[in-house]
């Protein structure tokens, strides 16, 4: 803090750079001019000039000096001491490479992780190249360079992929290992409740279990897994995108904008000429700088997934339509009969139907799923079924009300019972009138099934998303999903139009 306050008083960047210069390398900055001074007065004058030159041209001084960075030395394979006692690792190599590209001599300080940011702030070193993730809290105190690698939670599976898993979305009911107490366990349980999460005491246990195919996969830090693949030659591959990403970057003090831009420039060059990749491959069995997943999804699997998803979509739609239509007959009847003994049931039905029609389906779906705690499939079918009932009962009601009252009376005059009158006379006529509106309800409901992807049902949209998460081709697979939907809804819409025409052509006029 003292240093920081002092710095605030200094208005010129130059001054701050001088103090830093002194600290960085006392010998080269101070002692060399002194030795010159003792030789002659001329030299003394030259020294004064030289000193001012040195002070004024801070960049020149910096370029010829050292670049001190910090890391823990206890985070293999990023930083660790090898068998010969030499500090080595991914971060070490990155630090040295950056220093050489800045024309500086690399000096690496090892320090404890919990004090590493404080050390940067009190100028013990210029930067931290120690696998630090960018977080909002840290960004308040320091400036981060562009990320030099990405890490985060990653699903690993056996190379043979016996369960045909291509992303975390296909792991429903499969055994996925995590280390007890790691954040990944909580993350999986929160976000993927259908996965059978199995906990182990250590990652070594998990690796053994997967090698014996006793679990489907495990979730851990991507690079920790990658190092295992490289070092222990494990038969694992990462699949799908990282569940969440961390951007690993180099923090510098906020006022060091020049250094920051120099580091960014160096990183960009290293990325461009493949240096980062090259350093990476020294330690890891896979490339984390490349965003593409390493296992490719075969076309047959894609087709199967899309068809399966489409099947689920149609199944849920069909079940919901069936429920909705069946319920809409009694509710439609109650809506059509306003007075008499059925007044109370009529009012209740009216209220329920208005509620269903007035609230977004998504909210109803989330309410039934999370609010009532139903499992996804029953929640989807019940919610969509009840929604269908809401809309269809209006269609049924208007159909019933458009049947001439005389029809029922004539049927009664022929001695037909109440049920027969409804079954043979009223309902067939009402249904035919209601068909176009009912068809529109069916089309709307099929489209509404897209919503159930939210509650983790593997229908068409969700399967498309899971394919996209591996193939990175959203245009293609969303288009396919759209066309599949359209292939079902379009004929239904045409059919509704045709029925409407044929009904109005035939007519119901009596005499």
């Amino acid at each position: 803090m003292i240093f920081k306050d002092k710095q605030r008083e200094v208005t010129e960047k130059i001054t701050s750079d001088v103090s830093r210069l002194n600290r960085l390398d006392g010998k080269s900055c101070r002692l060399v001019p002194f030795s010159r001074m003792t030789k002659s007065l001329l030299n003394k004058i030259l020294w004064i000039i030289g000193f001012f030159f040195c002070v004024c041209n801070s960049v020149w001084c910096e370029d010829t000096k050292t670049f001190t960075t910090a890391l823990t030395g206890k985070y293999p394979p990023f930083s660790y001491y090898d068998s010969g006692g030499k500090l080595t690792g991914f971060d070490v190599d990155i630090a040295q490479e950056i220093a050489s590209r800045l024309n500086l001599k690399s000096k690496i300080a090892t320090t404890e992780w919990d004090g590493i940011l404080a050390g940067l702030l009190v100028e013990k070193y210029d930067a931290i190249i120690g696998s630090m993730a960018i977080t909002p809290e840290r960004t308040e105190k320091v400036d981060f360079s562009n990320p030099y690698y990405f890490s985060g939670a990653q699903l690993f599976i056996h190379r043979n992929n016996p369960h045909k898993v291509y992303s975390i979305n296909e792991c429903t009911d499969l055994r996925i290992g995590v280390v007890l107490g790691e954040t990944y366990q909580q993350y999986l349980e929160m976000n993927y409740p259908d996965i059978n999460v199995v906990t182990f005491k250590s990652s070594v246990e998990i690796f053994e279990m997967l090698e014996q195919n006793r679990i489907t996969g495990f979730v851990t830090d991507k690079l920790v897994g990658a190092w295992q693949i490289k070092k222990a030659k494990r038969p694992f591959v990462p699949v799908g995108e990282m569940l969440y990403k961390e951007r690993i970057a180099i923090p510098v003090r906020k006022e060091n904008t020049r250094l920051l831009s120099d580091i960014n420039h160096a990183l960009a060059e290293m990325e461009k000429d493949g240096t980062i990749k090259e350093i990476y491959s020294r330690y890891f069995g896979l490339d984390s700088t490349n965003k593409n997943a390493s296992s490719k999804m075969p076309t047959s699997v894609i087709v199967k997934k899309l068809l399966k998803g489409f099947g689920v979509t149609l199944l849920v739609a069909f079940a919901s339509i069936l429920i909705g239509f069946t319920l809409s007959i009694p509710t439609g009847l109650l809506l059509a009969h306003k007075g008499g003994k059925l007044l109370l049931p009529h009012m209740i039905t009216r209220a329920v139907v208005d509620l269903i029609r007035g609230i977004p389906v998504l909210i109803q779906l989330l309410f039934v799923w999370l609010g009532l705690g139903l499992r996804p499939f029953p929640a989807a079918i019940i919610t969509l079924g009840v929604c269908a009932m809401g809309y269809m009962s209006e269609a049924v009601r208007s159909g019933l009300m458009s049947v001439d009252l005389g029809q029922g009376i004539a049927a009664k005059a022929l001695g037909l019972s109440l049920i027969d009158r409804f079954r043979f006379i009223i309902w067939p006529q009402a249904f035919r009138i209601a068909i176009p509106s009912l068809m529109n309800c069916v089309v709307a409901l099929i489209k509404d099934t897209a919503l159930i992807s939210i509650i983790s049902i593997p229908e068409l949209i969700r399967e498309a998303q899971s394919i996209i998460s591996v193939t990175f081709e959203p245009q293609k697979y969303y288009l396919i999903a759209a066309l599949l939907f359209f292939a079902v809804t379009f004929p239904l819409m045409k059919l509704a139009g045709m029925l409407e025409k044929s009904i109005s052509k035939k007519g119901f006029e009596n005499d």
């Binding site: 001439d404 005389g406 029809q407 009376i409 004539a410 049927a411 009664k412 005059a413 022929l414 001695g415 037909l416 019972s417 027969d420 043979f424 006379i425 067939p428 006529q429 035919r432 035939k506 007519g507 119901f508 006029e509 009596n510 005499d511």
Partner: protein, 231 residues
């Protein structure tokens, strides 16, 4: 056959449609109930058909109060053809005819269809068997409606304003057809069309303001009422 004894019917709004009305409807081929609009004819028809229950008085069918007769039996004994006919538009003529025999009198579909074919033949409209009500003329529809009623072999059949939708020529044809119809069923025609009543019926009543004012031979009644009636 039908004895109407002192019946009165007052609607909810206080309109007295029938006032202490008594008629004896003999077993006759065609009987006419005449009267102007608002005279209570239609209310009387609805009372006879059990769609309205008179507040006082009784209606006897073959000496039995109609409200003591079981629904299916009653409907099989007394048929109704409505002013608007109310044929079932979603069924063809054949099914219009066979529905009630199958569902009410438990005929087999096959037998009911055979009976319907014979009925249509007898009524001279067998060519309509596969037509839908929307495809046939008013006069044809009238006959189909009568055929539908006759399928249950009722003792009596009420016809409400059978000529209202027919033009003069068709009315004439219909009158001839009805008079020559060979049937055990008595027809009770409720109409304001006096000339038509004269054509088809011998006996009848004339109603005014909820009461029967004339009864006897149609020709006599018509002579009495010729003056004030305008058709």
């Amino acid at each position: 056959m039908i004895d109407i004894n002192n019946i009165s019917y007052t609607y909810g709004d206080g309109t007295k449609a029938l006032i202490d009305l008594s008629i004896k409807l003999p077993k006759e081929h065609i009987f006419a109930v005449m009267g102007m609009s608002g005279s209570g004819k239609t209310t009387l028809l609805n009372c006879l058909a059990r769609f309205l229950r008179p507040q006082t008085g009784t209606i006897l069918l073959n000496g039995k109060d109609i409200y003591t007769i079981e629904e299916k039996e009653f409907r099989s004994k007394l048929g109704v053809v409505f002013q608007h006919l109310n044929l079932f538009p979603h069924m063809n003529v054949l099914n219009n005819l066979t529905l009630a025999p199958c569902r009410v009198q438990n005929y087999l579909k096959k037998d009911a269809e055979k009976a319907a074919g014979e009925m249509l033949e007898r009524l001279g409209i067998e060519e309509l068997i596969t037509d839908y009500p929307g495809q046939i003329s008013g006069g044809q529809a009238q006959r189909v409606a009568i055929a539908r009623g006759l399928m249950l072999k009722p003792e009596a059949m009420l016809l409400d304003e059978p000529t209202s939708a027919l033009d003069a020529k068709t009315t004439q044809e219909f009158a001839t057809w009805l008079s020559e119809l060979k049937s055990d069923t008595s027809f009770i025609i409720v109409t304001h069309d006096t000339p038509f009543a004269e054509l088809v019926a011998h006996q009848g009543v004339f109603m005014e303001k909820g009461r029967v004012t004339q009864t006897g031979r149609i020709n006599d009644i018509v002579k009495h009422i010729k003056g004030p009636i305008t058709i």
